[in-house]
């Protein structure tokens, strides 16, 4: 038999705990909600702090009439910077819905994008910040993919011709796993490439695992920042869907820490 007073006290404690939990979650979500604004302020401060850039930047480019042309200029400048580099690099032209691989300014591969989605932060960037970020190629800081860069097959040398004949290498197409790729670029910009068709169970399972891996690690990063009273970081993301074979070709062609030029207007 329970004493009524104790029950009421237990319920009261529970309600207070629930209330505190509610407030904490609310503040946590509110901080996350504001994180894009923090990011934009951070980028704005970075732009203003670059006095050489600011003195070269023409404020008239902010005019809606000139903004698209000026963004084209930023794109071409970035391409020219990248053309000085003799390794394979990536061009993401969202205005034309094309992705290119390039070496020394020569386009060696082109893929038509099926669909893409640009982060609202990037879409709402003031023109001077756009110029600061995108008039130079961005480096790939980190990347994660569901396919291997080099599909290496290890073979032990045979002892004699008989063993060589038995274990003769049977040529086959490369192992074709579902392809999903996430690149983290300078300024914390994320480029996510996903295959456009997920036909089988394995494709869907890989897609879920690929997305969850990032979301879980990002969630813990947010929790850590929240409890250590730090600013929530925000990663502006561009999501791209493209044919799986092209995605594999692009990923395998790019060296580690390759450079990327992004253009959208």
């Amino acid at each position: 038999m329970q004493i009524p007073g104790i029950k009421i006290r237990q319920l009261g404690t529970l309600n207070i705990t629930a209330g505190i939990l509610f407030v904490i979650v609310f503040i946590f979500l509110f901080c996350i909600g504001l994180s894009p604004l923090h990011k934009r302020n951070e980028l704005a401060n970075l732009t203003k702090a670059d006095s050489i850039f600011m003195s070269a930047y023409n404020n008239l480019y902010d005019d809606p009439l000139l903004a698209p042309l000026s963004r084209q200029l930023a794109y071409k400048k970035a391409l020219l910077h990248m053309a000085e580099n003799d390794s394979i690099n990536l061009i993401v032209n969202l205005s034309d819905s094309n992705i290119h691989l390039t070496i020394n300014g020569v386009i060696i591969h082109t893929t038509r994008l099926q669909s893409f989605d640009i982060d609202p932060l990037l879409l709402n960037l003031p023109n001077n910040i756009y110029h600061k970020i995108f008039s130079h190629p961005l480096y790939i800081v980190e990347e994660y993919a569901t396919i291997v860069k080099e599909p290496i097959v290890v073979r032990q040398a045979p002892k004699n011709p008989e063993e060589a004949a038995i274990n003769a290498y049977q040529p086959d197409t490369l192992i074709q796993n579902p392809a999903f790729l996430r690149m983290q670029l300078d300024y914390d910009i994320h480029l996510v490439f996903e295959q456009d068709v997920n036909s089988g169970w394995n494709d869907q399972k890989t897609q879920v695992a690929f997305r969850m891996k990032y979301r879980i690690s990002h969630f813990f990063e947010r929790l850590k920042a929240f409890f250590s009273l730090k600013k929530q970081n925000y990663y502006p993301t561009i999501r791209i869907k493209m044919p799986v074979n092209d995605l594999r070709e692009i990923y395998r062609a790019l060296p580690t820490h390759a450079r990327v030029v992004i253009y959208y207007s």
């Binding site: 009439l65 000139l66 903004a67 200029l73 020569v106 060696i108 609202p120 290496i152 097959v153 290498y169």
Partner: protein
């Protein structure tokens, strides 16, 4: 017990609602903080700036166009095992080829050979007709045979590389093949194999110094 469950349920639903509210909150934020654009400039200033921009763009376009070779060049896709022959920006011919197998051969002496086609920009170093293949050590080790001396007669094979070979340097060649059924597959030791007709076309189109882009 029932009231505890009720409280937990309410908290859970509230958290879900708040989490669902997050994208809406972010949309509201962007609605109130659009990209700042100004349109208060004088029309003459704008026109002058526009003309300057167009001039700068034309200059950059010229510089970028100068990067593209005007003569023939070859682009090789090692993932799909295809090649494309270009002249300037015009695609002349495209077909199957064979590139490196990505086999890593190891022997008991801790030696290793990686059979992959290198990526990047190359130039044709030399061109030969009726090339003779001087088999390297790995060709014997791969077949389980003892490695002969450097200039032993068993090292020289005639007719296996087709009628022509174009060298990319470091022992990598563009050559023909006896195994035409493997074209389009990654089967080589790093060289690029073509069928007879394509090899002839490439041999006649590319000259020494022509660019070859491999990716």
């Amino acid at each position: 017990m029932r009231s505890t469950l009720k409280t937990v349920f309410i908290v859970f639903i509230t958290i879900l609602l708040l989490a669902g509210f997050l994208p809406i909150l972010q949309k509201i934020i962007w609605a109130f903080n659009p990209a700042g654009t100004t349109d208060s400039s004088q029309p003459e200033q704008l026109l002058a700036a526009k003309q300057q921009l167009e001039f700068d763009l034309a200059k950059l376009d010229k510089k970028l166009a100068a990067k593209i070779p005007r003569s023939y060049y070859l682009v090789i896709n090692t993932a799909s095992n295809e090649f494309s022959l270009y002249k300037g920006t015009e695609l002349i011919h495209q077909d199957k080829c064979s590139t490196g197998s990505y086999v890593l051969l190891k022997n008991d002496d801790q030696q290793e050979w990686m059979f992959k086609t290198p990526k990047g920009e190359f130039r044709i170093q030399s061109k030969t007709t009726s090339p003779v293949w001087k088999k390297p050590d790995w060709a014997f080790i791969e077949e389980g045979l003892p490695v002969p001396s450097a200039n032993h007669s068993s090292r020289f094979e005639y007719g296996v590389l087709g009628d022509y070979a174009l060298s990319l340097g470091h022992g990598y060649l563009i050559h023909g093949t006896l195994y035409q059924r493997f074209l389009g597959l990654p089967v080589t030791h790093g060289c690029i194999r073509l069928n007879d007709d394509n090899l002839e076309l490439i041999y006649n189109s590319l000259s020494i110094g022509s660019k070859v882009f491999i990716y």
